[in-house]
Amino acid sequence: MLAPTIIFWILALLAISSALMVVLAKNPVRSALFLVITFLAVAMFYITLSAQFLAAVQIMVYAGAIMVLFLFVIMLLNLSAPEALKEKGTLQRPVAAILGAIFITLLIFSQALLEMPTKPALANEVENLGTVQTIGLSLFSPKLPWLFPFEITSILLLVAVIGAIILAKRKLD
């Protein structure tokens, strides 16, 4: 077996098992930590796919900022008692199972799982694929259609920030 294949399977097992443990772990702090491991494994996937910038941003934003805030909230609420997390409704599980089965059937029938790209890309193509420069040039180039969605997204984030400040202020006053 080739080294990329071995690394792929190690990372895949790590990502999937820790993603399962996010759901199965009783303790909310442990769930959050397993989610961090999932994020790190996905970041390493990005690196193997020559998307270095995406990998760094994945670790910085998800593992480094969002999950720290999650932990902060969990620790503040002190949810360590498992009783607080017991699910009340019983309808959720069967509905989730049916929806999941439908999703997997769709995936199988559309052959998205089977038609994986098998030919490795050329070295020259991969070289600059995921660098900051390439991503910046494609995001901000006037010839490509991605500048407008990017700016709209930034406005969306600004609205969210202002909304959060307004909500917090109202509580304080």
């Binding site: 080739l2 990329p4 690394i7 193997t48 270095q52 910085m60 620790m75 490795p120 420069q133």
Partner: protein
């Protein structure tokens, strides 16, 4: 840099007994970095105690060894033999994991620091310049930021798993503080990225190897000197922002609220004893080394000598780099001996209301100034009139220009395989090379000198 290469006449051959030497650089660097970080920590502790004692006008350690130099070794031995006490109601696995998490990200972050440039020559006389790092990846700065953002987990989990209200308060403070100051830190570093046009650390160091502010009329000995580094090139403010936020990121005084001993006993590591406590201690010092190394590489010229004159230029770059790191550590200790601890609201006010807006304003200012640069996109190429460098995208042109077209991997020198002991002529088709970490090529042909 033709002048630099002729002065540095020493360069390694690219093959040595069939061993591909540039491919061995990352492995040597791993050993050197980890060994240096672990071996220098006792010295740093000693230095801190001596300097603090000098500031506070007392003797400091002076019993074990000359000037107390072996005191830290003795303390380390004592910690090693202490009983490992584990409180009853801790969350065992996370309690044991936390000291490891405090140390590993700091050590991992130092992997991309360009400590020194190493030169290699092939038989055709071409000289390759390879930074001595574990991996000179093209997301270097982002990688260090990512690792430093993971550092918070050690502190937070230690605070939570100890099941102690003081520890928990320390952990909560740490998470809030680190998230707040990461923003200012990132903004300060972004100012430099705007100036250098690259997030690769060796490119950032190269971009500082110019005459001050890029003015050609400046004398030659100022090229790459202390006046052309980015602390001055970014007009002074980002280096102050970075220095403040680097102290806050490593939880050192005056920002040591997570372990404020007058309020929280010892904060997040109250319940830790023996070697686990020592690991927190070492993690703190290693993260200090890493952030000071980033400071040295990004704002203070990295391995460049302070003046481009003869006796300074023959000193290896690693000596300058380590000197700059040590000056940073001295600054840490100086601040600890000088300033009282900030109150919590003052800390948050400083981070969010003073430093963040200032960093944003400065980023816009520098981006505006940067539009005056010619050409105003892409990496800064320091010396246009020097020997033409091989651009990353123009490897085919370089292949045509080369008088002796050797094996393709040597002329398109960006893609050194990371695996040594392999004939590079065949690795270009090797499917393993589409795996990114081994392909973030190190080095480019910088000059050709006749041998």
């Amino acid at each position: 840099m033709p002048d630099e290469i002729t002065k540095y006449n020493f360069s390694f051959p690219i093959y040595w007994h069939g061993l591909y030497l540039p491919g061995a650089v990352p492995y040597v660097a791993i050993v050197c970095f980890i060994g240096f970080a672990l071996a220098i920590t006792p010295f740093l502790v000693w230095m801190e105690r001596v300097v603090i004692a000098f500031i506070q006008d007392r003797s400091g350690p002076n019993r074990v060894g000359p000037r107390g130099l072996l005191q830290t070794i003795a303390d380390g031995m004592k910690l090693f033999f202490k009983e490992d006490i584990r409180p009853k109601s801790v969350d065992v696995r996370i309690y044991y994991l936390a000291p490891v998490l405090a140390m590993i990200p700091a050590l991992a972050g130092s992997a991309v620091l360009p400590i020194q440039f190493v030169y290699f020559h092939n038989l055709a006389g071409e000289v390759f310049k390879v930074p001595f790092t574990v991996g000179d990846v093209n997301i270097g700065l982002l990688y260090i930021l990512a690792m430093s953002s993971l550092q918070v987990y050690g502190v937070v989990l230690a605070g939570w798993s100890s099941n102690n209200k003081y520890s928990l308060l320390g952990g909560l403070r740490a998470s809030a503080q680190l998230i707040s100051y990461e923003l200012s830190m990132g903004l300060a570093l972004l100012c430099v990225v705007v100036l250098a046009g690259s997030v690769k650390l060796s490119d950032i160091v190269q971009a500082q190897n110019i005459k001050p502010f890029g003015i050609d009329a400046m004398p030659d000995f100022l090229k790459g000197s202390v006046f052309s580094w980015f602390w001055l090139g970014s007009l002074g403010v980002p280096v102050i922002l970075y220095t403040i936020s680097m102290i806050a990121e490593t939880n050192r005084a005056p920002f040591d609220l997570p372990e404020a001993e007058s309020e929280l006993v010892a904060g997040f590591h109250t319940e830790y004893t023996s070697m686990k406590f020592a690991m927190f201690f070492m993690g703190e010092y290693i993260s200090m080394l890493t952030v000071c190394g980033l400071n040295a590489a990004v704002f203070w010229g990295g391995p460049l000598p302070p003046l481009n004159i003869w006796p300074l230029t023959i000193v290896p770059g690693a000596v300058w780099f380590i000197t700059k790191i040590m000056l940073g550590i001295f600054f840490y200790i100086w601040m600890r001996g000088t300033l009282p601890r900030l109150r919590y609201d003052a800390l948050m006010n400083l981070g969010w209301k003073r430093m963040l807006p200032l960093g944003l304003v400065w980023l816009f200012l520098l981006a505006g100034l940067n539009l005056l640069r010619e050409p105003n996109d892409g990496p800064v190429q320091p010396n246009k009139d020097a020997v033409p460098q091989v651009q990353p995208t123009e490897t085919t042109d370089a292949l045509n220009e080369s008088p002796t077209p050797a094996r393709p991997i040597q002329t398109s020198a960006r893609s050194y395989p990371a695996i040594p002991m392999r004939d590079p002529g065949i690795t270009i088709d090797n499917p393993t090379t589409h795996f990114a970490p081994s392909r973030t090529g190190q080095g480019a042909i910088t000059a050709k000198i006749s041998r």
